[in-house]
C-alpha cells in the first residue's frame, strides 16, 4: 500500500556512496604483527561487524578494501600487487601500521619502504602496531573520504 511516510528523496550519487561505505568487505591480507591487531579488531571486543565489514573475504574478487597489515618484503611485493589487481573496482587500500606506510623501523635491503610504491593508498594508519581503535579510525576516515568523493573514480 502506498504511504507518503515511507518515501524520502536523495541523489543517486549520495545513495551509491552511502551503500559503498555500509558494507565494505576487506580482503584478508594479514602479513605480520598488524594482522593480529586486525584480527582483534574483527573479533569480540572491537567487532568490525558494526560497520558491516566482519566478513574478511579470502578471495580478492569479492573484496572492496585491502588492509595491508604488516611489513611488505621485496618477495611479497609482486604477490600484493597481484591480489590488488584481482580485486574488482571500486577498491580502496588502507596501509596499516608504520611498516606498510613507510617501511617503519626497518630501513634495509629486505623491505619495501612503504606499500605506496606498489599500490595507491587511500588511508595511512600510524602505529606499530596500530591498536584496533586506530584501525577503526582509519576505516571511518576512509568512509568520510568515500562520502565526500566522486562515485566514479
Amino acid at each position: 500500500m502506498y504511504s507518503p511516510d515511507n518515501i524520502f528523496t536523495t541523489t543517486i550519487d549520495k545513495a551509491v556512496r552511502w551503500s559503498r561505505t555500509q558494507s565494505m568487505w576487506p580482503v584478508t591480507f594479514g602479513l605480520a604483527c598488524c594482522a593480529i591487531e586486525m584480527m582483534a579488531a574483527g573479533s569480540a571486543k572491537y567487532d568490525l561487524a558494526r560497520y558491516g565489514m566482519e566478513v574478511f573475504r579470502a578471495s580478492p574478487r569479492q573484496a572492496d578494501l585491502m588492509i595491508v597489515a604488516g611489513r611488505v618484503s621485496q618477495k611479497m611485493a609482486p604477490v600484493l600487487r597481484q591480489v590488488y589487481d584481482q580485486m574488482a573496482e571500486p577498491k580502496w587500500v588502507i596501509a596499516m601500521g608504520a611498516c606498510s606506510s613507510t617501511g617503519g623501523m626497518f630501513n634495509n635491503y629486505a623491505l619495501v619502504q612503504g606499500v605506496d610504491h606498489i599500490v595507491p593508498v587511500d588511508v595511512y594508519v600510524p602505529g606499530c602496531p596500530p591498536g584496533p581503535q586506530s584501525l577503526m579510525h582509519g576505516i571511518l576516515t576512509l568512509h568520510d573520504k568515500i562520502m565526500a568523493g566522486e562515485i566514479n573514480r
Partner: protein, 451 residues
C-alpha cells in the same frame, strides 16, 4: 726434465701471484664476478624472489592424471601468515609438501647489527609478534651474559610474570586461530576476547599492546602500575573459568575429536630428528622444557609442572596448550605473591640511564644519559648463546660482540622456523582437509620463521 718443467711452472704460478711478482689477473677468476651486461627479466625476477625456481621433484611412478601440484598461499587465510606450500596431491591424499618461506623476510638480524644493545629489544620484539616478551627477554639475557651482570630480584620476577602472561596470551591466539581454521568459529571469538584481558594489562604496564620493548638489558623499562595485583587477580579468576568453557565446548565434542584425533602424528623420534621443541615435542611424550632443564631468570624457584601427553596427534597439541595455560597461571600467582621490593633496573651507571629527575640536578647524570642514548654502552668482546622456553619452543639468541656498543652479529634461533620443518612429515599421506589442522597445530608464526 719433465718433472723439472712442472716444478718451474708451479714456481712461476706462486711467483706471479705473490706481492713481488704482481698479480696475474688472467690466471684467477676474480674478474668473472662482474655483473652480466644484459640481465634478462627472468633472471632479475629470480634474484628479487618474485619468481621462484620450481625445483620440485616429481615422482615418476604416479601417472600425470592422478597427480596435481597445488599452491597454497602465500596469501591464504589459514596458513598463519604468508607461508606458501607446494602440495603434491594424488586424489585427495597429500603425497608431498614443500614449504616455501621468505615472504616476510625483514632483515632483522642485519638491522640488529645497526642498533645498540639498548635499542636491540625494539628490533627483536617484532620477530615473533605473538610472544614479544620472550624475544626481548632472550636478547636481554644474552647481553647480560656478555656483560656478566645480574639483574635485581624484582626485575627478574617482573620478567617471569610478564613472560608467563605472554605465554597465556600467545596460546590463546593459537587456540583461537587453530579453532577458526578447523571451523570452530566460536573459538576464534573466545580466544581473542580473553586475550584482550591480558593485553589490557600489558598496555597498562608497558604502554603498548604488542611489541612492547619492555624487558631491556639491565632490567625492565618501567615498574608495574599501581594496583597491578587487582588486574592479575582478575586474570587469575577469569581465565580458568573460560578455559572450562572451552573444554565444555570442545573436549567431548565428537566433531572436534573426529577432526583432530589420530591426525598429523609427529612422534618423539621425528621431533628429535628435526629439532622440534615446545608443545609439539611435549605432546609426543617427551617432557623437555627449558624452564626445568636450563632455568633462566630464577624460574627454578617456582612450583609448576610440565604437562606431557603421549598421543602425539593434533588433538594432543591442542590439549597441551590448554594445560600449559593452567601451569602458567600457577607461576603468575606465585610471582604475584612473592614480588620482591626494590629496584626494577640494575643499579649500574654504565648500563642503566639515570632517572629523569636526576637530569635537572646533576651534570654528570646528564652526560651519562646522553652517552647511553647516543653511543650506547660498550659490551666486552666475546660471544654468548642463551635460550628460553617460548610458547613455541626453544628460542635462542646468539650474539657475537667485538667490544663496541653494537652487536657484531646477532642470530636468533626461532622455534617456528625449526618447527616448520616438520610440516612435510606431519602432512605426508594425509587427506588434504587435514593439512590446515596440521599447520594450525604446529602454530608457526611467520615473523619468527622469516625474521
Amino acid at each position: 726434465m719433465v718433472k723439472n718443467k712442472e716444478n718451474s711452472e708451479d714456481l712461476e704460478f706462486w711467483a706471479t701471484n705473490s706481492e713481488e711478482g704482481g698479480w696475474k689477473i688472467d690466471s684467477t677468476d676474480e674478474g668473472s664476478q662482474k655483473m652480466s651486461e644484459e640481465e634478462s627479466e627472468q633472471q632479475l625476477k629470480i634474484q628479487t624472489g618474485s619468481d621462484v625456481v620450481d625445483d620440485y621433484f616429481i615422482d615418476e611412478e604416479t601417472s600425470e592424471d592422478e597427480r596435481m601440484i597445488v599452491n597454497m598461499g602465500p596469501q591464504h587465510p589459514s596458513t598463519h601468515g604468508v607461508l606458501r606450500l607446494q602440495v603434491e596431491l594424488e586424489g585427495e591424499a597429500v603425497r608431498r609438501v614443500k614449504p616455501i618461506i621468505g615472504y616476510l623476510h625483514t632483515g632483522m638480524e642485519k638491522t640488529g647489527e645497526e642498533l645498540t644493545y639498548l635499542q636491540g629489544p625494539t628490533n627483536t620484539t617484532r620477530m615473533d609478534y605473538l610472544s614479544p616478551f620472550f624475544n626481548e627477554l632472550v636478547f636481554s639475557l644474552t647481553t647480560e651474559k656478555l656483560l656478566d651482570i645480574e639483574v635485581p630480584a624484582r626485575a627478574q620476577t617482573i620478567r617471569i610474570l610478564m613472560t608467563e602472561l605472554n605465554r597465556i596470551s600467545s596460546h590463546l591466539v593459537a587456540l583461537a586461530t587453530g579453532g577458526m581454521d578447523i571451523g570452530a568459529l566460536s573459538m576464534m571469538i573466545f580466544g581473542f576476547r580473553e586475550r584482550e584481558l591480558l593485553l589490557n594489562f600489558f598496555e597498562k604496564t608497558t604502554g603498548l599492546r604488542m611489541n612492547h620493548n619492555y624487558i631491556r638489558p639491565g632490567g625492565v623499562a618501567a615498574d608495574l602500575p599501581d594496583d597491578w595485583q587487582k588486574d592479575i587477580k582478575e586474570i587469575l579468576k577469569i581465565i580458568p573459568e573460560k578455559l572450562k568453557d572451552y573444554d565444555e565446548m570442545l573436549l567431548d565434542n565428537p566433531i572436534w575429536k573426529g577432526r583432530l584425533q589420530n591426525v598429523g602424528i609427529l612422534t618423539t623420534q621425528e621431533c628429535l630428528a628435526y629439532g622440534i621443541t615446545g608443545p609439539s615435542l611435549r605432546a609426543s611424550g617427551y617432557g623437555w622444557d627449558l624452564r626445568k632443564m636450563q632455568p633462566y631468570s630464577g624460574i627454578e624457584k617456582y612450583d609448576f609442572e610440565v604437562p606431557v601427553l603421549q598421543e602425539s596427534d593434533v588433538f594432543a597439541r591442542w590439549r597441551i596448550k590448554v594445560l600449559e595455560i593452567l601451569e602458567s597461571l600457577k607461576i603468575v600467582e606465585q610471582a604475584m605473591n612473592n614480588m620482591p621490593k626494590g629496584p626494577y633496573k640494575i643499579q649500574d651507571k654504565k648500563v642503566t640511564p639515570p632517572p629523569r629527575k636526576r637530569l635537572d640536578e646533576s651534570m654528570e647524570a646528564l652526560i651519562h644519559h646522553f652517552k647511553i642514548y647516543t653511543e650506547g654502552f660498550k659490551v666486552p668482546e666475546g660471544e654468548a648463546y642463551v635460550a628460553v622456553e617460548s610458547p613455541r619452543g626453544e628460542l635462542g639468541c646468539y650474539i657475537v660482540s667485538d667490544g663496541s656498543s653494537k652487536p657484531y652479529r646477532m642470530h636468533v634461533r626461532g622455534p617456528s622456523f625449526c618447527n616448520l620443518q616438520a610440516l612435510p612429515v606431519v602432512m605426508a599421506d594425509s587427506p588434504i582437509a587435514d593439512a590446515v589442522a596440521a599447520i594450525a597445530s604446529l602454530d608457526p608464526v611467520i615473523g619468527d620463521v622469516d625474521r
